[in-house]
């Protein structure tokens, strides 16, 4: 076992931010306060589609508020997400528009001395709207003669006309799909739909910014990428990047909701620049709910299979209703193609994806980035095929999954790598025993009001977006590690911890590489001035990509440390080793086999300082050239109440192949949290719109937007997790990712379990009690 030789990797340690978080000391964006702070409010459209004919801010100004409208903000088109290369970045929005495209879109803002004065000032603004016809259904939106959201946008810096509200379209094919279907003994086809889930991160999007005397600005935002926030603000406001300092602030949950520079950030910056005072903007829950959602999809899926279960061809067509702005639909479609291609081998395949504008809150990345949606369709279909062929669903999966030595598309067709570690078989077989799969009986053998069923689904996610060749997606990280004069060490990186333990893992990587105790590694505060570029903590890349740069920086620091030690001990540096020693609570450098030749790390760093040799410091800016899949498998048991249509999840087994689990306890926590959100996607969550008003039917509140509470979440006591025993040689100490993978298989496992309980196949999520009852009424043979 590779793991046993590690002293830090894989150990359960108290997380470094733990005490601050439990004793109320952690400061989030919404807690940042500064002297002379003004508070901002944003005036948002109550109408789904309108031109702003006039805005009168006189009353607000009389109250002492600073006001901004489209006339005060740069007319520069931007896309809040900056992860793709510019040629593939669709830019359709400005800081404050003169045309609004969904209810809740901001078009003016105020800042005042108190939040209540800001609110009052904002309400005093007079607006004349020219109402435009709105459209909420993607199929209607594509029809000729439908209201158009855009005439043109920018692709990079080039103007791009928009027709029929089609934001972008992608086709990917390999082989001859028609030929593949002809070779098949069975062709299955079905439409699947998933909901418009809200991220529901507990901290609403927030930002504080302060204009600096040199004309620059400091920003404390909720974001997953401080460097992209800095670059975008520099571009929009023509501020030199060295005068723009974006601070990393702990975030109260994200799940993708802050993958971009959120639109509240440039609004707040524009207010601060105009007021020349620091400004704070914290979105209300309602504003946050109108800001972003998960991409809802309609998927038409078709597979051809031989009698023995071999897949001959697959075709996936999708329509994605992206709402009023195109944040990342183009890479999303590419990724969806990749998720489809990388689940099961298909000699012939076709993907066809269309992203459509409608007058709703824009979709953006949310845990899995199209993957839970694709897996929902594919993994449901695998069960359908297994039943048609009379095969065991697990056997069919084992026969066709993309595994060791095969090619995997980590981020669409341009980011491919070869799979070098794979725990798919282990997870399916071990999970099968843990859930007692062999006790499973077919739905027709079940009677009574409550029916239980067990389902399985597989999934995976990419670990980052690196590939042998540069693709459409930027991916690298920078880190700095230095050894201090008491034997401790610090590391700095712009990586972000969303709560899952990314920076904890970074600390363990440094401890392992330097041979010092975990407690001796400090995580430095980060801002854009003092760290090198890191693309974004997204795409499950934190540990695999960010961690790899940390490991490289630590190696460089270690090489210097050993060079210094070699001078002090008069030994070749290559012969020296470092290991933590309990008695001195620090690392010791020693010559194996020698009793005399050893010295504590702190002593070396101190002597190097006294002798003027310098600091043992390492810096690395590194791009991974792979994006290995972290595979997941979920087994879920549900209980369907055939009288009320309510579904409870009663047992679950969640497994992940994340290579070496660096933080096993926190990784298990990721699996549990992912499972909870995946069950929400399957059974509970979606934001619906009233087509008359264009407003959310839940009103933008948690009263009517439900997600699981501790009481409603049955697997709390009956969820088991485990890790596949794999080692990813290209990752830091054998690690891959976990994060997004955790929820990718869940929704499919739930609907497969429902089918096993009552024999009804639900292809549209969420499977609400209403939908269950309606389906039961159409299925009279389900006895009560």
């Amino acid at each position: 076992m590779e793991q046993n030789k590690f002293h830090a990797i894989g150990r359960i340690a108290r997380r470094k931010d733990g005490i601050a978080k439990v004793t109320g000391r952690e400061v989030y964006s919404s807690d940042v306060t500064l002297p002379h702070l003004l508070f901002a409010r944003v005036l948002r459209s109550p109408i789904p589609h309108a031109r702003i004919k006039s805005i009168n801010t006189r009353e607000a100004e009389k109250m002492g508020a600073v006001c901004i409208t489209s006339e005060d903000t740069p007319d520069i088109k931007y896309n809040e997400r900056q992860v793709s290369i510019p040629e593939k970045t669709y830019r359709d929005r400005v800081v404050l528009p003169d045309k609004v495209r969904h209810v809740g879109e901001g078009f003016a803002a105020v800042a005042a001395k108190t939040e209540s004065l800001a609110e009052k000032a904002m309400r005093s603004i007079e607006v004349e709207y020219e109402k435009l016809p709105a459209i909420f259904d993607p199929y209607e939106a594509m029809r000729s003669g439908s209201p158009q959201l855009y005439d043109e946008i920018c692709l990079g810096d080039t103007k791009l006309p928009i027709e029929s509200n089609i934001a972008c379209h992608r086709e990917v094919g390999e082989g001859d799909v028609e030929h593949g279907f002809k070779e098949a003994d069975l062709v299955v086809e079905k439409e699947f739909r998933t909901g418009r889930v809200y991220h529901a991160q507990m901290e609403t999007k927030s930002v504080v910014c302060r204009p600096e005397p040199d004309g620059g600005i400091s920003v404390w935002p909720t974001t997953q990428s401080i460097h992209n926030t800095r670059q975008l603000l520099g571009r929009i406001f023509s501020i030199s990047l060295n005068k723009l300092n974006v601070h990393r602030v702990p975030i109260g949950g994200s799940f993708g909701s802050s993958i971009q520079m959120n639109t509240c950030i440039p609004i707040c910056v524009a207010l601060a620049l105009k007021a020349q005072k620091p400004v704070k903007l914290v979105l209300s829950r309602e504003e946050d709910m109108y800001d972003h959602c998960k991409y809802p999809v309609i998927i038409q899926l078709k597979y051809g299979v031989k009698k023995d279960g071999t897949i001959t061809a697959g075709e996936l067509k999708t329509i994605v209703d992206i709402g009023g702005h195109n944040i990342q639909a183009y890479p999303l479609l590419g990724c969806m193609a990749g998720w489809f291609v990388s689940l099961y081998r298909m000699p012939h395949l076709q993907f066809d994806g269309t992203a459509v504008y409608t007058n709703k809150a824009p979709g953006c990345a949310m845990q899995g980035y199209g993957n839970p949606q694709v897996s929902f369709a594919v993994e449901s279909m695998i069960d359908i095929i297994a039943e048609e062929l009379g095969m065991d669903p697990i056997a069919l999966r084992l026969k066709n999954y993309v595994g060791l030595g095969e090619t995997f598309w980590g981020q669409g067709p341009t980011v491919r790598s070869v799979i070098r570690s794979c725990g798919v078989e282990e997870m399916l077989l071990k999970g099968k025993d843990m859930i007692e799969w062999d006790q499973r009986v077919s739905p027709d053998k079940k009677t009574g009001r409550y029916r239980k069923g067990v389902g399985v689904a597989r999934g995976f996610h990419t670990s980052g977006t690196g590939a042998p060749t540069p693709g459409e997606v930027i991916d690298y990280s920078t880190a700095m590690v230095k050894v201090n004069e008491d034997g401790s060490a610090d590391f700095s990186t712009a990586l972000m911890c969303h709560g899952g333990g990314t920076l904890e893992a970074g600390a363990k990587i440094v401890a392992e590489e330097l041979g010092i105790p975990i407690d001796k590694v400090g995580i430095s505060p980060a801002d854009t001035r003092s760290t090198g570029y890191d693309v974004c903590t997204h795409a499950t890349r934190g540990i695999y990509c960010g961690g790899a740069s940390i490991q490289r920086a630590a190696k460089e620091a270690k090489a210097k440390l050993l060079k210094f030690a070699s001078r002090l001990l008069d030994v070749n540096p290559e012969a020296l080793k470092i290991q933590p020693r309990e008695e001195s609570d620090q690392g010791h450098i020693f010559l194996p086999g020698s009793l005399e030749k050893h010295i504590p790390v702190g002593e070396v760093a101190k002597m190097a300082q006294y002798k003027g040799w310098g600091t043992a410091i390492g810096v690395a800016s590194h791009r991974q050239v792979n994006c290995p899949p972290c595979f997941v498998t979920n087994f879920i048991e549900v209980e369907v109440d055939t009288y009320t249509g309510e579904i409870k999840t009663t047992r679950a087994v969640a497994a992940v192949d994340c290579g070496t689990p660096i933080n096993p306890d926190l990784a298990a926590g990721q699996l549990e949290g992912g499972l909870c959100r995946g069950i929400g996607l399957a059974l509970l969550e979606s934001t619906d719109y009233d087509p008359e008003t264009g407003r959310l039917t839940c009103g933008g509140t948690f009263i009517d937007y439900k997600f699981y509470t501790p009481v409603d979440m049955p697997p709390v006591d009956k969820v088991k997790t485990f890790f596949a025993d794999t080692y990813e040689s290209s990752g830091p100490f054998g690690a891959k990712g976990v994060g997004e993978a955790a929820n990718n298989a869940t929704a499919a496992a739930v609907v497969n379990a429902i089918y096993n309980a009552i024999g009804i196949r639900f292809a549209e999520a969420p499977v609400t009690p209403e939908r269950v009852l309606k389906a039961l009424q159409n299925q009279p043979d389900v006895e009560k």
Binding site: I19, D31, M202, V282, G501, V711
Partner: protein, 157 residues
């Protein structure tokens, strides 16, 4: 607008403020007194991140009027324990990985504290019910329940 003088004890420290009848305890804690460990998540009593202990009861600070807190004791996560002397619940939250982003944590802890003060041997179901008003989007709740259970007194066998 008419204002009222209120006096409370926040984590043992006397605090006073001039408030309007409509100001909530959450407004006053965060905006007047910089008590930022009491988080703001929804302002409608749905999410529980602003839970504080008001004279022994767990309440949503966003649903409590500031004037209702007059003359009472308010305890927040900072009042339960300190980094040097954390409460057992706080230690167990760290040890059990019950924290991810940490935004719900201060509210979870105050709900859990009230539960264990009133029912030191609370079982898992009672724990789940006690924190039913505290939403967490990160964890799926298992490790939070585990942590509170570990801090509860063991039932006599």
């Amino acid at each position: 607008m008419m204002t009222y003088s209120i006096e409370t004890n926040v984590n043992g420290r006397p605090r006073a403020a001039e408030v309007t009848a409509r100001d909530t305890l959450l407004d006053v804690l965060r905006d007047h007194w910089d008590v930022f460990e009491v988080k703001n998540g929804c302002e409608q009593g749905d999410c529980g991140v602003c839970t504080v202990i008001l004279s022994g009861k767990a309440v949503n600070a966003c649903l409590t009027l500031a004037v209702q807190a007059n003359g009472k004791d308010v305890v927040t996560a900072k009042g339960i324990g300190s980094p040097k002397e954390p409460h057992l619940l706080q230690t167990k939250f760290v040890e059990h990985g019950a924290i991810q982003c940490g935004f719900c944590t201060p509210g979870m802890l105050t709900s859990a504290k009230v539960l264990l003060d009133q029912n030191p041997k609370a079982n898992r179901q009672e724990i789940r019910e006690a924190i039913a008003g505290n939403l967490c989007r990160c964890t799926g709740y298992k490790k939070i329940v585990d942590a509170i259970e570990a801090a509860a007194a063991k039932p006599e066998s």
